[in-house]
């Protein structure tokens, strides 16, 4: 089994209604339960605020990620899948795709 990282691109934290967020979370959890079905590993939604963009050790841009909302990363999810094909199939059914773009990346397993 390999692990895959899903990066959630785009953010509507400031614009989406609480009801919408709630509904999305419900559907997300149904996806976790029914589609991933034990293949959910970890993850978290991310705040838009309290972000720092570090260009170097000395140059810290403190006012957030400085990118457009649609490119902002608003969450990440780690899942388990056999290969990238299976991971893609699982991710296609993720309800977050209705509002965001998802970037799927295979994680390099630690060498034994």
């Amino acid at each position: 089994m390999n692990q895959f990282l899903i990066i959630v691109r785009g953010s509507d934290h400031s614009t989406a209604s609480p009801e919408k967020k709630q509904q999305r979370l419900e559907r997300f959890n149904e996806w976790v339960g029914k589609v991933l079905n034990g293949r959910f590993v970890s993850g978290a939604p991310l705040e838009d605020t309290d972000a720092r963009f570090l260009k170097s050790r000395t140059e810290i841009l403190t006012d957030g990620p400085f990118i457009e909302a649609k490119e902002m990363i608003s969450g990440y999810i780690v899942i388990q899948a056999k290969d990238i094909q299976e991971a893609t199939e699982l991710t296609k059914e993720c309800p977050l795709l209705d509002d965001f773009k998802l970037e799927l990346r295979k994680m390099i397993p630690m060498q034994q």
Binding site: L25, F28, N29, V32, F40, S42, G43, A44, P45, I77
Partner: protein, 425 residues
């Protein structure tokens, strides 16, 4: 701090006892049984907050729901605080640790059917045969019945420090041997169910017969034992297990006489002198119904026989009209199933009802010669009683005094005192 009014205090006590088992069960379902102590911490914290919020008199409309909601909120705080250090229940650990899924998972576990399921899991874990029986009893009282340590000590006639030690060792064993938190299935189920029924039976007996003088605790013990047995019957598969119904019958039929056994001064009233109008006819009817439901399958168990004996007493119009012959036969069968001095003692006593006191005295002395009754106050009390019936006052007083010296129960002592007084006058 203002004291709660006595009414409010009784309500809170009752509610806590009732809800504690439910809360600990569901919290353990989340945290995993290896984190039983964490579940107990959250429970304590919740009850503490209830006392703090309620003592002003602001008891919520739905106190049970309030408790669950607060427990849930505290559970999620605990999970957030501990998620880097601990693993929770294996099947939910990842879901509880991610903010995507934690609240949703929690909401879906705090549902009525999940709570009931968790309580069943808890019953099977507390009554796990890997734990010593006294550990099983203490743990069941603590986690499922919401008894406090002093209450358990009092119910099981021992000290608080002993109970603390038993609980500590039991929990340690659960952790070290990684006992699971599941309802067993397949052939395992029935073997494990026997252990569960034994604990329920012992709890009930402890409440019904023990020498603990706190009547409230004793009654609660009986009610909790009945509640746990009822919980078992909610699983369809348990319906194939007649013993559960036999045990329920036995408990209902005994519990029906609970109030008639104790007079207004807290003294024990023997069966012969009980006011049968005080017997709870609803419980008797329920007991008889359970007994007939238990009559399937091939095995007649001790629970069946004991329930049948209790039923025979319950339906008799008077002590004199009791079906002693039938009861004698049931005891003979019981003696074959689980030979014990108590049953032989009962057989001798019934001989007195059917064949007269002299026959009982002979049977009792035969029992004494077999050397199996030493230290049993009931034995000497019975012997005294039958001597009194044959007019041998001196022997009667001697044996009653012996019984008096042996019992630890204040109620029994009082009863014997009265008899001795009557014989001497």
């Amino acid at each position: 701090m203002t004291e709660l009014s006595p009414d409010a205090k009784a309500l809170v006590d009752h509610l806590f006892r009732q809800q504690a088992g439910r809360m600990v069960a569901i919290l353990t379902r989340l945290f995993g049984v290896h984190n039983l102590e964490l579940a107990e911490d959250v429970l304590q914290d919740t009850l503490h907050q209830a006392l703090k919020d309620w003592y002003t008199g602001n008891i919520p409309d739905n106190p049970a729901g309030w408790l669950m909601t607060v427990a849930k909120r505290k559970a999620i705080n605990m999970i957030r605080r501990e998620r880097l250090q601990r693993n929770f229940a294996a099947d939910m650990d990842r879901l509880l640790k991610s903010e995507w899924t934690a609240s949703y998972t929690l909401d879906h576990i705090f549902l009525e059917h999940e709570i009931k399921d968790s309580q069943l899991r808890m019953i099977f874990t507390c009554c796990h045969p890997a734990l010593p029986i006294e550990g099983q009893l203490a743990l069941t009282l603590k986690t499922l019945c919401g008894f406090s340590i002093p209450e358990i000590a009092s119910a099981l006639l021992t000290t608080e420090s002993t109970i603390n030690k038993r609980l500590y060792r039991a929990k340690e064993k659960i952790r070290n041997e990684q006992l699971d938190f599941t309802v067993p299935s397949g052939p395992d189920l029935f073997a494990r169910l026997d252990a569960v029924l034994l604990v329920i039976y012992l709890l009930f007996n402890e409440g019904y017969n023990s020498s603990c003088d706190d009547l409230v605790i004793r009654k609660d013990l009986c009610l909790e034992a009945m509640r746990l047995a009822m919980l078992l019957t909610e699983r369809p598969i348990m319906k194939d297990y007649p013993e559960i119904y036999a045990l329920l019958a036995l408990m209902c039929l005994h519990a029906a006489r609970f109030d008639a056994r104790i007079d207004s001064n807290g003294c024990l009233v023997i069966l012969e002198e009980q006011d049968r109008a005080l017997w709870d006819q609803d419980l008797i009817a329920e007991g008889i119904q359970f007994l007939s439901r238990s009559a399937f399958g091939i095995s007649v168990t001790a629970y069946h026989l004991e329930a049948a004996i209790a039923a025979e007493h319950s339906v008799a119009a008077s002590f004199r009209d009791t079906g002693w012959n039938k009861i004698y036969d049931y005891y003979v069968a019981l003696e074959k199933l689980k030979p014990s001095p108590v049953i032989r003692l009962n057989l001798a006593i019934i001989k007195g009802k059917t064949d007269g006191p002299q026959a009982a005295i002979t049977a009792l002395h035969a029992l004494e010669e077999s050397g199996k009754v030493a230290g049993d106050s009931l034995f000497y009390a019975s012997l005294g009683e039958f001597y009194a019936q044959t007019g041998c006052r001196e022997e009667a007083v001697d044996y009653l005094l012996e019984a008096h010296a042996m019992t630890r129960s204040a109620a029994t002592k009082e009863l014997l005192q009265r008899k001795i007084g009557a014989l001497r006058s």
